[in-house]
Amino acid sequence: MNKTRTEGTWEAKAGLARMLKGGVIMDVVTPEQAELAQNAGAVAVMALERVPADIRAQGGVARMSDPDMIKGIQQIVDIPVMAKCRIGHFVEAQILEAMDIDYIDESEVLTPADERNHVYKFDFKVPFVCGATNLGEALRRIGEGAAMIRTKGEAGTGNVVEAVRHARSVLGSIRKLKVTPPEELMTIAKEMGAPYDLVKYVHENGCLPVVNFAAGGVATPADAALMMQLGMDGVFVGSGIFKSGDPEKRARAIVEAVSRFNDPEILAEVSKNLGEAMVGINISTLPDEERMADRGW
């Protein structure tokens, strides 16, 4: 093998996320759903046993999916396959890496395995995506090696309000940091609980060093386009597709909406006759212990 070849570098890890930009990543629980997602134009699928809406409904401890179930999905599609491990559960992450998963989502949708620490992601060749509710949290995850960030939103609710809150918080802080005088950066790093060098990076470049997707509560083409217009790089759709009346049509419509997110006439056209959207949940009626976004820090 060529001596100059190196695998699992930061460029390769963050680079894959760059190639997913402008795309839709869909939660799927069976090979059939995975195939439908691919045919509808998904850039990747998230293989899991239960979509967040069902995890919410059924309760109990939610863990990494059965490797055999994930393998069935890997065999059927050519697009990248992602899978979730619990926050801090580095052995689940090792298992997913051994299975040649393309991206690991260290996810608050599953029950956290460690209440203080996340996985040290630099140890892995496989890249990680992590959720964040604000800029400090995003930079902490990147500091641990996350090669992609997403909003947490409130998964399984079909309600986009939390994703909007998190997107506005992260993007608003970035805009502010851009015009902050350099002598204030250390204090901001301290207050945010974020690594100084990453705070400095955002100040100098006006963006995160990794791709930033929307996730958690996206249920319609309009929701997806809203997140894109706010400035996100792409969209995860969890329960929103396969908990709706016509998954195939909705999946395609959301992909189309993300590719033409700035064109209201196109958005009107793709939003027509999609059948029933998933039944949403009002976040304010959710008891605190059922709020997934509060998991991790």
Partner: protein, 198 residues
Amino acid sequence: MQSVGVLALQGGVAEHTAILRNLSFNVIEIRTPDALDSISALVLPGGESTTLLFLMKRWGLTKPIQRMGKNGFPIFGTCAGAVLLSSSISEMEHEVKQESLRLADVKAIRNYFGRQTRSFIENLSIKGLTDTFKGVFIRAPLLQPLSEGVDVLSSVDDGPVLVRQDNLWLSSFHPELTSDDRLHRLFLERSGLLGMEE
């Protein structure tokens, strides 16, 4: 100022745009067929080839781009973009029934090097460039020539990764993920859009 189009439906659009703007080109993001009228060259970025094909078809871009490619219009496809230009597509693990623009006599073998954990960086020798070029390979395809008209400009141990057939340039790696603009320049020079280097 000449304009270069970047297919802007999905994928590494901003990265190509940044490099082309640094080379003083006006960049037009291509989402609709009418945007193709004002450009002198086209870049098909990396992304997911199935997604790009779905969206090109949906927004009526497949046929116009096909026509331009056949008429000698300069097109540079990187990774998924190269897959789109290939006349034949296969996959390592199973059969694919994927359509493409079928412009270059090239067989693209998708995910040739394996899944993401096998993605890699390698320094490449490229015909036409003096020093080596950092190749960023992400779930990359291999590009096998199917006719004499295809010129192999760079290979790794496994086979060709940069090929050219007249007006069409295909790379299985991502020059847009580096800060090195030499390959973009080479494409634009040979397409007559940029003065040759001394």
